[in-house]
């Protein structure tokens, strides 16, 4: 079986055009990421800040202590008062301190208190709902209290790289294109050359070969996705000049202030990669299913574009997205808010539901691909019968003469 999977993989994916497309898209991705860096990073807008930041980081960065805060404010306040709005070196210094140290430090310092407030309110709510006899809301608030209790940001880190890496999803678009391109051929290739009849007569044919194709396709989708996600990560790290901040909790980035998760940023990056890959796999299996059902490449290709386009539009129009795999592709939005969905009185976090439906869809698609009996013995006979009828019909010979 492994040999067969390897063979299918080599046949469909280890081809020159696929590899060339992957390399070309990687280059495009790198180009786009450098654009993000140019446009958004503080240090690309103010290159002279970087040196100053690096010299001040050991003084004010790292573990947050009362002493460091006092030193920083003693440095910052006079500058702010004197520099006012007059452009000059003091003004620049004050602006740099504000953007790079004071604002992040303030956020980090206040977060602990905010989280404690949220926990307190959630516990109050839980009590209130218990009195009202609303079990579901009670459980929700208890979960929230559990999530937020004891949250704090102990360190001041440079998290700009993670911030923009987690906001970046152009590579998802590229991977989707590549996956359509790779998978749309998998079942069509033999049909187009009418070789699939031959396949039926071999021992390894029929379902075994379908299974091998399916597994090879999954392998392809996963490897392409991971290749791009890791390339993104490395490129972001190199361009922003730091991989640091990976051990800060996810809520150290302001966008994830109310996130239901509290894992470190590095693990969240890995986790997001997994979710995105799951989303890509769902679309990949849909493409594969179309490829299984059609007899040439054109229709499944255009069908896949339509399918993905309509899912994107539906997501963009804010239609309920729990069943829409695009929400896994843009997974940062799932972790922006603590968002519950009631399933028969049990509160489930939206990302869990999204992930669950994606898994369900994956298994359903794979099952249909595997257990679709066409072209089996029966339909094979039917196919031949249709062919005969075709040649007998008066139209065809006439056309041939033309």
């Amino acid at each position: 079986m492994i040999r067969q999977i390897y063979f299918e993989f080599r046949k469909h994916f280890l081809k020159f055009p696929v590899c060339a497309a992957v390399i070309f898209f990687l280059l495009l991705d790198a180009f786009q990421i450098s654009g993000v860096y140019q446009e958004k990073s503080i240090f690309s807008m103010m290159p002279e800040w970087r040196g100053r930041y690096e010299s001040l980081y050991p003084v004010y960065g790292g573990l947050i202590t009362e002493e460091k805060i006092r030193d920083l404010m003693a440095h910052y306040r006079p500058l702010k008062a004197e520099g006012n709005l007059r452009p000059g070196s003091e003004y620049e210094e004050a602006l740099m301190l504000e953007k790079c140290f004071v604002e992040p430090l303030q956020y980090a310092y206040e977060y602990r208190q905010n989280a404690a407030q949220i926990t307190k309110r959630a516990l109050e709510n839980a009590d209130f709902y218990q009195q009202m006899g609303n079990g579901c809301a009670n459980r929700k608030n208890q979960q929230i209290a559990g999530m937020f209790s004891g949250r704090r940001i102990p360190e001041l880190c440079y998290t700009e790289m993670y911030q923009y890496y987690l906001q970046y999803d152009f590579s998802v678009f590229l991977v989707l294109l590549l996956v359509i391109y790779g998978l749309v051929n998998v079942f069509v290739l033999e049909k187009e050359t009418e070789m699939e009849l031959l396949l039926q007569t071999t021992i390894q044919g029929k379902r075994k070969s379908a299974a091998a194709k399916l597994l090879a396709s999954i392998l392809f989708a996963i490897s392409i996705s991971l290749l791009f996600w890791f390339a993104d990560f490395l490129l972001f790290g190199c361009l922003f000049g730091s991989f640091g901040g990976g051990n800060c909790p996810i809520y150290a980035i302001e966008y994830f202030e109310t996130s239901p998760l509290s894992m470190p940023l590095f693990f969240f990056a890995l986790f997001a990669m997994g979710l995105k890959t799951a989303g890509i796999l769902v679309f990949g299996m849909a493409v594969l299913l179309l490829s299984r059902l059609c007899r040439n490449t054109l229709l499944p290709f255009v069908g896949s574009i339509l399918l993905i386009g309509s899912c994107l539009l539906a997501y963009d129009a804010d239609l309920p997205s729990a069943c829409n795999p695009v929400s896994l592709l843009i997974c940062r939005e799932l972790f922006h808010w603590v968002d519950f969905i009631d399933l028969a009185g049990i509160p489930v976090l939206t990302w869990q539901l999204c992930f669950g439906t994606a898994l369900l869809m994956l298994t359903a698609f794979s099952a249909v691909i595997l257990y679709d009996r066409r072209p089996g013995p029966k339909s094979h006979a039917f196919h031949i019968h249709m062919k005969r009828r075709d040649t007998k019909s008066p139209k065809t010979p006439k056309n041939r003469q033309e």
């Binding site: 958004k40 959630a122 054109l298 804010d318 239609l319």
Partner: protein
């Protein structure tokens, strides 16, 4: 000629050509009819605007400026005259007859106020460059000229129709056969290219003719000789073009773009004889520059992408403000006419090279392919099923919301909502109120009538991340309120709010859910692939109140009442009236005071307004409990009591 006929028969009889063309035309028409006018206010007050434009349309002269300024002064004078007159009447200083006399001439002046407002806005824009910016009805021209995105149906139908021209025989390796024929090879290939060009031209012409007809019918296309800069999106352009010449240039460029795409497809299919790599390449060539990269790159690269979105070639410089330093930065530099010609020549050279390559490669003889009906049907079913499945459960979920709201309405039967009570709602058990505390922060509090205990209604634990609006709506055991979530991502330039949520609270167990969610800022999806228009958040910030039924949420602001559908999230203005101070809703009708302070009933089922009495009133309320047993008498009884109550208030 025979070969052309033969190619046409292949495309239209054996490759489902008519189906694709039909789908293309249907989707084009659907997209056109679904599009909203660029300036909805001008569309709504078209007659008034045209009345003004007939007088002062065209170039802005001294006289026109004088006329507009005088008219603006007259309008504001009339406005204050009306207000003074009514104030005097309500204070009992003048009688109704005197009032009628006093307000007659101001109202005559104010008759075209809404239209004047639109024209005045345009005047403010035109005043900055009177030589190039003329006053005209812009909606039609904006619809034709300002589209920034791709014409997706056209591109897909081009893929479907053109890719098989070479691929069909190539994939079964019959193309070599054609080389052996007398009229095969380059001869056949020449006709294939000619035929594909004809198809592209026909599709383009039919699509554009449909667009032109539709637009001229819906919005009208007056004053085609006015300069292009009259449209606000071309305001900074330095090209001396009239609107018609700009339109013809646009369609010429778009046709050039489709022809270029055609050559790309033919080149790829003739060379590789495979669908997948060609389609991937063409998709990348079209979609990536448009959605992935900046405009500068899109219009610099030779290829179809720039020409398929031709508006950028006519635009002027675009600037944006740097968020860190506050300086303005040029985002997109205008492309000069010579630059456009250079790009066109480059792309044409590329296309000629590709055609030469296709001719060199030659092509083969066509082989008939039969598609099994079953696979066709199953593919279609699968596509429909998948789309329906993946689309999310939009239909059922919204339906569910509507059903419960409908039931609520039925259960309580008597709906009586008044704008004056927008911050207050009472049931048998609870009293809900919007209160400001000493720090001027707004809280919605619920009070248990039996125990007197007070507690907050909004129980969201993330207090920093949202703001509550000071209005509530209650219906039976359900209370509705509006909250706006605060945006903390970097898109803060556009709006500080992320979503507007209409929340429903069940007073039985205080469970809460969202029934309407409107996005307030731009969403960045897959690297700015979609940039849909976000809702106008400033409108929602100034809300006075709201109410809802099973299909819509109705928002009341000081100048209008508009409704937003649960399904589409689109806002449409229902009623326009200045100074909406008193509004009521009884489940079927909206009652409000028009500009002459007369009570007007707006029937939601018939979408018609009707002035109910000649009495002048300042305020009115609906009686809280109207007997609704006799359905036919329901409205009358409300009318009567409403009028009575009104009298009561007006002369108090």
């Amino acid at each position: 000629m025979d070969i052309l006929k033969f190619e046409a028969r292949k495309m239209f009889r054996y490759r489902r050509g008519p189906v694709y063309v039909f789908l293309f035309l249907v989707s084009e028409l659907f997209l056109l009819s679904a599009g909203a006018p660029a300036n909805p206010e001008m569309y709504a007050h078209k007659d008034d605007c045209i009345w003004y434009l007939n007088q002062i349309g065209g170039q802005l002269t001294e006289e026109h400026q004088k006329f507009l300024e005088e008219e603006a002064a007259a309008m504001s004078q009339a406005d204050s005259a009306v207000q003074t007159a009514y104030k005097q009447y309500f204070d009992g200083l003048i009688s109704q007859d005197t009032l009628e006399e006093n307000v007659e001439s101001p109202f005559a002046t104010l008759e075209r106020k809404a239209g004047f407002h639109v024209i005045y806005e345009q005047y403010l824009y035109a005043r900055q460059d009177p030589a190039h910016r003329y006053l005209l009805n812009t909606n039609g021209w904006e619809a034709l000229l300002s589209r920034g995105g791709l014409d997706l149906p056209l591109i897909l139908v081009l893929f479907l129709l053109l890719a098989p021209i070479y691929c069909d025989e190539g994939k079964s390796q019959m193309d070599t056969l054609s080389l052996t024929m007398k009229k095969g090879g380059t001869f056949l290939s020449r006709y294939k290219i000619l035929y594909s060009v004809l198809v592209v031209l026909a599709l383009n012409v039919s699509g554009m003719a449909a667009e032109l007809l539709f637009v001229s019918e819906k919005y009208g296309l007056p004053n085609g000789n006015f300069p292009l800069q009259s449209l606000s999106c071309y305001g900074t352009s330095t090209k001396e073009l009239s609107l018609w010449s700009a339109y013809f240039l646009t369609i010429a460029l778009e046709t050039a773009g489709s022809l270029c795409l055609d050559v790309f497809i033919l080149f790829g299919t003739a060379l590789t004889k495979k669908y997948a790599p060609v389609l991937l390449g063409c998709m990348a060539a079209v979609f990536l520059p448009v959605y992935g990269f900046s405009q500068t790159i899109r219009y610099t690269l030779p290829g179809p992408a720039g020409f398929l979105t031709p508006s950028g070639f006519l635009r002027g410089d675009q600037t944006a403000v740097d968020s860190l330093t506050g300086e303005s930065v040029t985002v997109f530099g205008e492309i000069s006419l010579s630059g456009l010609l250079l790009r066109l020549a480059l792309t044409a050279a590329l296309c000629l090279f590709m055609i030469a390559a296709v001719q060199r490669k030659n092509s083969g003889k066509w082989k008939h392919h039969s598609f099994r009906t079953i696979s066709k049907l199953s593919a279609l079913c699968a596509a429909v099923f998948l789309t329906a499945g993946l689309f999310g459960c939009a239909g059922p979920a919204s339906r569910e919301i509507s059903d419960t709201i409908h039931d609520n309405g039925k259960a309580s039967e008597r709906i009586s909502y008044c704008l004056s009570d927008a911050g207050h709602y009472e049931t048998d058990d609870y009293r809900i109120e919007a209160k400001e505390d000493e720090n001027l922060e707004l809280h919605l509090t619920a009070e248990d009538k039996h125990t007197g205990r007070q507690f907050p209604l909004v129980r969201d634990v993330f207090e920093d991340s949202y703001e509550v609006m000071p209005c509530i709506y209650g219906n039976g055991n359900y209370v509705y309120y509006i909250k706006m979530t605060v945006d903390k991502s970097e898109t803060i330039l556009y709006s500080m709010y992320e979503h507007l949520l209409v929340q429903e609270v069940n007073l039985k167990d205080f469970s809460e859910r969202t029934i309407l969610k409107l996005r307030m800022n731009e969403k960045n999806l897959l690297g700015a692939i979609f940039q849909t228009k976000s809702a106008d958040w400033s409108y929602y910030l100034a809300l006075l109140g709201f109410f809802l039924d099973k299909d819509y949420v109705y928002f009341i602001s000081s100048g209008d009442i508009s409704r937003v559908s649960y399904l589409t999230g689109k806002r449409e203005v229902l009623i326009e009236a200045p100074l909406l101070s008193s509004v009521a809703y009884d489940g079927q009708n909206i009652y409000y005071l028009n500009e002459r302070f007369r009570l007007v009933k707006f029937s939601l089922s018939e979408q018609e307004s009707q002035v109910m009495s000649d009495k002048i009133m300042q305020q009115f309320t609906l009686p809280p409990a109207v007997s609704t047993q006799a359905e036919s008498k329901n409205i009358e009884s409300i009318n009567a009591s409403a009028a009575n109550l009104l009298l009561h208030h007006a002369h108090a």
